[in-house]
Every structure is written in C-alpha cells, then in structure tokens.
C-alpha cells in the first residue's frame, strides 16, 4: 500500500483530460486522486500537507474570518473630566488576528455633553509610541453619531493599544460609550441555491445531529490502484467519491448533496462536546493535527482615563464612579473587576490554541497601583455553574511598563468552558501587598481583551 500523495509541482487535472471523448490517461486519474488526497490532508492536517490553513488569507491558507474584535455595549454615562493634560475617552488592548491588517473603529458618545475633538490612535504596547493616528473627529454635542476611524496597514497577528484621545482640559466634558472594532466587509449574502443540501436541512436545534449519524473515515487512496493499462476500477472510483462526500460535509458544514447519504456527518453527542465535532472547525476533534486559527472573543474598555497627569489629583471628577474600576482593599486570591459571560467556541486550549487575556492597567500616582507590594494580574475561567475551571496570574514584575503610569499584563488561561456558556473574570490579586486607603489612587483596569491564538 502506497498512499497517493500530492507533491510540489503536481497540478490539478486540466479539463481537456476529463472531457468527453478524452483519452483515459493514467496521469489524469492520478491527478484526481492526488488532489483529493491533498484536500483531505489540508482539512485534517494529517500527512504534513504542503499548505497549513490558518484563515489568514495569505498564500491559500484560508479566508479571514471577519469576527469583530470588540462590540461592547454601553449606557451613555457622562463623566465630569477635567484633566490638566488631556486623556483618553477609551483605551484598551486589541489583538489583530491572522489575515486582518485593517479595521474600522467606532465610539459612541452622549449627545447631552459638550462637543469635543477626539482622535483615534494605535499605540505600541511596549512603549506607547503612536504608530498610527487619525485626524481629530469633532463630536457634536447635539448629534448622536459615533466617532469613526479606519486603520489600515497594520501587522496581523500582533497586539496593539487602541486609544481614543481627547482634549479633556478645563471646561471640557467627555464620555466613553459603546466601542466597536469591526471588519465591515460585505459581499453576496445570497450564495448558491439553498435547496441544494442546505436550507431547511439546517436544524436550529443546538442538539446537533441525528443519533444514528456516522462519522465517516477518510480512505487512503492507493497508488497501486493505478497503473498503465490498468482499468479504472469501481473500487478506486467508489473510494474517491466517498472521500469527496465526506470532505464536502466536513469542510462546508452542510449535508451531503445527492447520494451517499449513508456518509452523512453529524456530531454524535450534541452541542456541548468539541470532541465529537465531525466538521472542520479547528476543534481538533477527530484529527489531532486539524488546522487552528486566531479567533477574537471580546474587548472591553473601562472608560475615561487621564494622560500621565495623574488620576487622583488632576482629574476633576464628580465621584469615583466615573473611573475605570480598581481594587481598594487587600484580597487574598484576587477578585474580578469585570466579568464577561456568554458562549465560548469549541476550541481546545493547549491543543493548538490558547485563550489569551491582555489587560491595560493605569497607575494614578505613577507607582505600582498604590499598593505596598507587587500586585498580580488575575484571570479566572468559570463554567456554567460558576465553578472555577482555571486561574492564571502574572506578577507585576513580568508586566510591560510602557510609561510610569501604564502597565500591560498578559496571561494564557489553561482552560475554559469550551462550546458552552461560561464566564471570565479579570482583575487583580493584592494578597501579597497592602493597599492604600480608598483615595482613588489604586490601580485601575483601563481595558482588556480576550482572544484565541495559535500556539
């Protein structure tokens, strides 16, 4: 048994070799079977395919996904902000997945406030260097219209700081509203005839698949089936057709078209177990080397932050409530400043993907958080019953420190509630330190983001 393998230089079958009345060439049949083998290897990741899919859109590695980086809903709450050195209406880390180097960002604002100019910036997380900046946008206090900017030419697969800077000096009032970072591409949404294998056959039930469904194996297509003057036998044709039917469903996620219904794929135990995912989804369910991809989960910003002028003294706040959240007391084991619940995709952490959380902290007095010792960045994953699944921490010594006031921390979670509803908590742990009094000077969580990355 020698598996037919696609090698560099092989070509797909030209139409003239398979047209009616063409000669039945051995090479033509070999090309067909090799191509089927290539598709199979690319989909499963088996046999070291020449192309590894990562949804980057580069060199045939699959189409970028277009999943938004941020769609944070907000009440439009006004702030009384009066910094002597300006500041940010919103500032948070973002991660551009593979294949995405441009995006559109929008920030809502409150029409009841004074008008002000804002400018969108992309900052280098390591030193806050301004990598790109869009001209000031005038927010008219009479119009409910978001401030919008578009950035292009960034590096995909990289993390950045997204900032909406504003002149928040004396007399101005600002608001940080809903934040959206999206890839607004829109082509055809009609597609092929939905009666051919899709449409009503797609169940809305999350309990996917019939109980009698079969997860078909892909069959190796053997070189010994083909030789000069050999007949094209039914065995090889049947094996090729069977593989194609399986691959069609696996890749496109729709029921097999035409016949071969006995090869119909379905998840065997319902919606909650990636291990039985019969489809090509990066879940590494059936195939250990199934290609994976970057995948954004959520991004959050904590609201208005001043520049380096200092939060505690130079910000003419009304109350503490307008700040990004911070911790005011010692907490052994850590506590969450923000929570995000919701549905998680069916990736497997530590099996080709990692759930990474990046946070941006602001230290009002320039020291580390106004605590007597070193805080720890703290992230926890919960399942649907709110039982803890994993906790990751990072001590301040490992945080990057772009300026005296800003700090960037990053951890990878060891687990999460894959393919189910669950929750992440992000905050910090002061169990090793002593907090200052509640004077508004403690470390503040300015923003954070969570995303899956290839590992």
């Amino acid at each position: 048994m020698t598996r037919l393998t696609w090698t560099t230089g092989d070509k797909a079958t030209p139409w003239r070799e398979v047209d009616t009345d063409s000669l039945s060439l051995t090479t033509a049949w070999q090309r067909v079977l090799k191509l089927i083998g290539l598709v199979s290897d690319m989909a499963t990741g088996a046999n070291t395919p020449p192309i590894t899919l990562d949804a980057s859109g580069v060199s045939g590695k699959g189409c970028p996904l277009g999943v938004p980086l941020a769609q944070e809903i907000r009440r439009k709450v006004p702030y009384a902000v009066n910094s002597t050195e300006g500041g940010y209406l919103a500032i948070c880390p973002i991660y551009l997945p593979d294949g995405e180097d441009s995006f559109r960002v929008e920030l809502d604002h409150c029409p009841r406030l004074e008008s002000l100019n804002v400018k969108f910036q992309i900052l280098q997380p390591s030193d806050f260097t301004v990598l790109a900046e869009r001209d000031p946008v005038y927010l008219d206090h009479l119009v409910t219209k978001p401030a919008i900017a578009t950035f292009t030419g960034l590096d995909d697969g990289d993390g950045y700081i997204l900032a909406v800077a504003a002149d928040l000096t004396s007399g101005n009032v600002g608001a940080g509203g809903a934040l959206r970072v999206v890839f607004p591409r829109m082509g055809s949404v009609i597609g092929p005839d939905p009666t051919k294998g899709i449409g009503d056959d797609i169940s809305l039930n999350t309990q996917a698949g019939a109980t009698s469904a079969v997860i078909a194996d892909l069959v190796d297509l053997d070189s010994t089936w083909i030789g000069d003057e050999y007949p094209i036998d039914a065995r090889s044709v049947d094996a090729a057709a069977r593989n194609l039917a399986t691959l069609d469903e696996m890749i496109l996620g729709r029921p097999a078209m035409g016949a071969n219904a006995s090869y119909t794929l379905a998840n065997s135990t319902g919606d909650s177990d990636p291990a039985d995912d019969a489809f090509l989804s990066g879940s590494r369910s059936l195939y250990a080397n199934e290609p994976v991809m970057d995948f954004p989960l959520w991004t959050w910003h904590g609201g208005v932050c001043p520049g380096d002028g200092g939060l505690g003294n130079t910000l003419g706040r009304v109350t503490d409530d307008g700040y990004p959240p911070g911790v005011k007391a010692n907490i052994s084991g850590g506590t969450a400043l923000v929570y995000q619940a919701g549905m998680f995709p069916d990736f497997k952490v530590s099996d080709g993907t990692g759930l990474r959380v990046t946070a941006l902290f602001y230290s009002p007095d320039g020291s580390v958080a106004g605590v007597g010792s070193t805080p720890r960045f703290w992230v926890r994953a919960y399942d649907e019953t709110l039982s803890t699944m994993a906790t990751s921490t990072q001590v301040h010594g490992s945080w990057s420190n772009p300026t005296g006031n800003w700090h960037v921390a990053e951890v990878t979670l060891a687990d999460f509630n894959e393919d189910k509803i669950g929750m992440i908590g992000v905050g910090y742990d002061t169990s090793v330190g002593v907090m200052k009094a509640n004077d508004g000077s403690s470390l503040r969580l300015a923003g954070c983001s969570a995303y899956f990355v290839k590992v």
Binding site: A12, T13, P14, S24, A28, W29, L35, I36, V39, M42, A43, G57, G60, K61, G62, C63, P64, L65, G66, V67, Q71, I73, E106, R185, M186, S188, V189, G191, G197, I198, G199, I202, S203, A234, V237, L244, L252, G253, M257, G258, A259, D271, S281, F295, L297, G303, D321, K328, I331, T335, L337, V338, A341, G342, M343, P345, D346, E384, G422, M423
Partner: protein
Amino acid sequence: MSGSNPGATSANPLSDTETAANAPAYASIIERLGGNAWRLFQQLAGWADDGPPSIEPNPQGRHGRDYSGPPYGPAKRHPIATFTGRRNSTYVEGTEHWNHLSVNASSALHLPMRIWVRPHHVHPGAPYSRGYWTLYGARALAGSHTLTMNQVNYSAGTGAVQANTMSVSGSTGALYDWNDDGAESDFYTPLVPGWNHVELWISSNSATKFYIDSLVLSQWVKLGH
C-alpha cells in the same frame, strides 16, 4: 498549487449507482470527481495561483469558507456583543461603577445598541440569523422575582417588539440565559448580515435591585442536520 478547473459546475457528488462495479465509465464520472476536489480545495484555500477562483464569493465578498455557517463552513459559537460591568463590592473602588447595570420595579433598563453581524448566507435557520442573550447577575437581597425582557431589531424582520420573562433568585451571582440552557427557544434576537439596530429593555416586578454584571448576545446555534 495550480491547474485548471476540470469541472467548475460539477458540484454533484457521485451516487452509489455510479460508483458500483460494472457501472458505465462515463467521462462525467472522473470530471465530477476532479471538479469536486478542485472546488473543495478552493473553498479551503480561498485562493488559486492560476486565476480567480471558480467558486462563488462568500458573504464577505472574498473566496473560501469563513466559518459563517453552511455552506461556508460550520458556524463558530461565540459572543457577538458584550456588556461588561461590575457591581460595587467591598473591594472595588467607587460606590457603584458607572458601567454597572441594575434594574428594579421602579427603574427599568433601556439599552439601544448598534451591532455588526458577520455577513452570512441568508436562508431560514442560518446560525448567525439568531442571537441569544446570557446574563450574569444577582439580587441585592435573598428572594426571587421575574425579569421581563423586551427587544426589537429595527434592521430585521417586522420591527415588532418581542417579550419574554425569566425567573431570577438569590443574592449570589448566577448565570442566566434566555435559551433555557441550550434547549431551542423561540425567544431570540433576529439578526441580519451587516449593521443591526437593536433596542433592549429589561424590567422587574420587584423593589429589590437586580445587578447585572455581564450581558452578552451570543451566536448560539451550532450546526445540525
């Protein structure tokens, strides 16, 4: 990777009859096998170096599967839009963080929102055509009451307001969803590809505050057939 598409329109797989022993060796058999393999390659790669792909563009206007639901790959379940807050506690600065939500009988919540929904193949039951709500929250005091959610998406359907209720209980945080923990539900937010203008109201029949620390609209429907 190069080559000519031998059967750009040969989308139909072979039937069992056609692949059986002693079946006629029509030229279309190998043409369809080669054509289908080439079509699937392009769906995976989204690209070919010998010219424009012969497959139709996906809903993003690009080529290849983008996990936006059949026939462009299985849909991924994930949050579409998030509200993330935190109620005051002993440890958190401020008396009640500005981004925190609470609701009681005298104070309902109203959240207008503008949401981008991934372009997807429009057909009945497309996974991205429905969004389901999940929230994490707790009552200020022990006990239980009912929350009512009203919602409308002015960009989808008739624009009619839909309503549903949910029982909440206890003063410790819990996860709630309007989809009955995975069972199919008629209460969902209809979504269309592109921008969606959704308004959400949450009201309560109790004088006791219900704190909402996280409110999320998720793509919930996984593939099934």
